[in-house]
Structure formats: structure tokens, C-alpha cells
């Protein structure tokens, strides 16, 4: 199990590094899919089966398709990254990243030196069943609010993407009327 974890972890780190490093946005997006899938594997190891599957379906599936669609819709080429400013920003970015990582590791080493957790109690019902029960009882209101949030986001996206009045879309609808 530990080996599996190490494997997934290595895959995850490698692919997410490639997301950040690769010049081509399409490649980046594909590596992100890989990263999400390996994260799903880690969820499985952590006995979060429902989250793992949702991760693959929603994240690696739906959300990433949206990303790829937009990238291709905009027809982007490879990024050109040159110049002194870019170099400075890169250097600073990596530096800050390194500092953050060091601090995070130090924190983890200092605070959570907990040993391996003993295996959880035997679940009487499946993970998905338990989550469903919790969502529809204790977390019912937050759950309903998320549906509202999605609706608002949907409306927002339509309004934003439609652009201001007098665009082609508006003209089209005007032509359709008669």
C-alpha cells in the first residue's frame, strides 16, 4: 500500500510539475488530467472511494473538457516566454515556492509527527452511502446552497460570455424573430 501511495505520489508530482512547466497549454491540460487521475488513486488509498470517483468524473472529465474546449476555441499557440522581466519573475516565483515548501515541510515535521493511524472502524455501510446520508441530513442546507451557487454561476457565465449588447449574438437573435 505504501508503495502504491509512493507511485501515485510520484506520478502526481511529476505530472503537475509538467502542467506548470510545459509551454503548450494543451499539453499542460492533458498533464493536469493525469495529475487529477493519480490524485483520485490516492483518494482510493485513503479509503475515500466516492471522492475518488467524483474526482475522476467531474474534475478529470467535465472540468478539464471545458478547459480544453476553451484552449482550442481560442486557438492558442505555444507560449513565448522571453525577456528580462519574465526571467526575474520566474526566479522570484521559484524562490518563493522553495521557501514556502521548506516552511511547509518544517511545519509538518514539527506539528504532525503522528504515527500511522490505526485502521478505521469497520464501516457498516459503504462510503458512498454514508456520504449520501450525511449530505441529505446534516449538510442539507449547504448542499442546497451549492445548487443555488451553480445556478448563479451558470447565469453569470451566460451574461459574461454573451458580451455587451449589440454583439453578433444579439444580432442573430434579432434576425431570428421574424
Amino acid at each position: 500500500m505504501i508503495f502504491l501511495f509512493a507511485g501515485f505520489a510520484a506520478l502526481l508530482v511529476a505530472s503537475s510539475l509538467l502542467v506548470v512547466l510545459h509551454r503548450n497549454p494543451v499539453t499542460s491540460a492533458l498533464f493536469l488530467v493525469l495529475a487529477f487521475c493519480s490524485l483520485g488513486g490516492i483518494y482510493l488509498l485513503l479509503q475515500a472511494e466516492f471522492v475518488a470517483l467524483v474526482q475522476v468524473i467531474v474534475y478529470a472529465g467535465a472540468i478539464m473538457v471545458l478547459f480544453l474546449f476553451v484552449i482550442m476555441y481560442l486557438n492558442l499557440r505555444q507560449d513565448v516566454e522571453r525577456g528580462v522581466q519574465t526571467a526575474i519573475r520566474r526566479g522570484l516565483g521559484w524562490l518563493v515556492g522553495a521557501v514556502l515548501l521548506a516552511e511547509a515541510f518544517a511545519l509538518i515535521a514539527k506539528r504532525w509527527q503522528v504515527g500511522p493511524v490505526s485502521g478505521g472502524p469497520e464501516m457498516l455501510e459503504g462510503n458512498t452511502q454514508a456520504i449520501g446520508r450525511a449530505l441529505y441530513t446534516r449538510y442539507l442546507f449547504p448542499f442546497e446552497i451549492t445548487s443555488l451557487l451553480l445556478l448563479v454561476a451558470m447565469i453569470g457565465v451566460i451574461v459574461i460570455a454573451k458580451g455587451r449588447g449589440g454583439t453578433a449574438a444579439a444580432d442573430d437573435s434579432a434576425e431570428e424573430k421574424p
Binding site: A9, S28, L39, L46, V70, L76, G97, S118, G120
Partner: protein, 103 residues
């Protein structure tokens, strides 16, 4: 069970993933890649949730992951719409060519 993954391992992985996301945001200029990096950071947080939930033997962590995913979905939709609109207006997705925030 031959072995249980220690909490600190998962947290270290989560931290690494998060920092990779931070670096991505800082070094890239393509708004789409920055967005993907933000997704990486969100997933790092999710991983921490699940790991803690596992360690505390509680379902709440996973429930929170579910909510984070919903918010992330909404955020991606809105963010991508903004990027599309930005591209229409400025013919670019490079954040260092846009400084509308300058007062």
C-alpha cells in the same frame, strides 16, 4: 492491511502539490495555465481534507471535498468565461499584458 499511509506523508504530498500550484501562478503568464495551477492548489487542499478526515475517522473531510469541487466547477465556468471575454477584447490571454487593475 499491510500498512497504513501516515498522515504526514499525505500532508507533505499536499504541501508539495500546493507549492507547485503557487509556482505555476507566479511564473506563468498564460491565464489558462494560471487557472490550471489554481486548480492544482484547490486539489492540494482537497487532499489535505481527505487525509485529515481519514486520520480523524470522520466523513466531514470528504463532504468538504465535495463542496470544494462544486465551488471549483462554478469558478472554472465563470473564470473561463472571463478569459474568453478578455481574449475577445484584447486578443491576448497573457496576464502581463493586461493591467486594468491599475487605478
Amino acid at each position: 492491511m499491510s500498512g497504513v499511509i501516515p498522515l504526514s506523508w499525505s500532508l507533505a504530498l499536499s504541501a508539495t502539490l500546493f507549492v507547485i500550484g503557487v509556482v505555476g501562478v507566479l511564473v506563468r503568464r498564460n491565464a489558462l495555465v494560471i487557472f490550471m495551477s489554481i486548480e492544482l492548489m484547490l486539489n492540494a487542499a482537497n487532499l489535505a481534507f481527505v487525509a485529515f478526515g481519514r486520520s480523524l475517522q470522520s466523513l466531514d473531510g470528504q463532504i468538504f471535498v465535495f463542496f470544494v469541487m462544486t465551488v471549483a466547477a462554478a469558478e472554472v465556468a465563470v473564470g473561463l468565461a472571463i478569459i474568453v471575454n478578455l481574449f475577445r477584447l484584447r486578443e491576448t490571454v497573457f496576464v502581463d499584458e493586461v493591467n486594468l487593475l491599475k487605478g
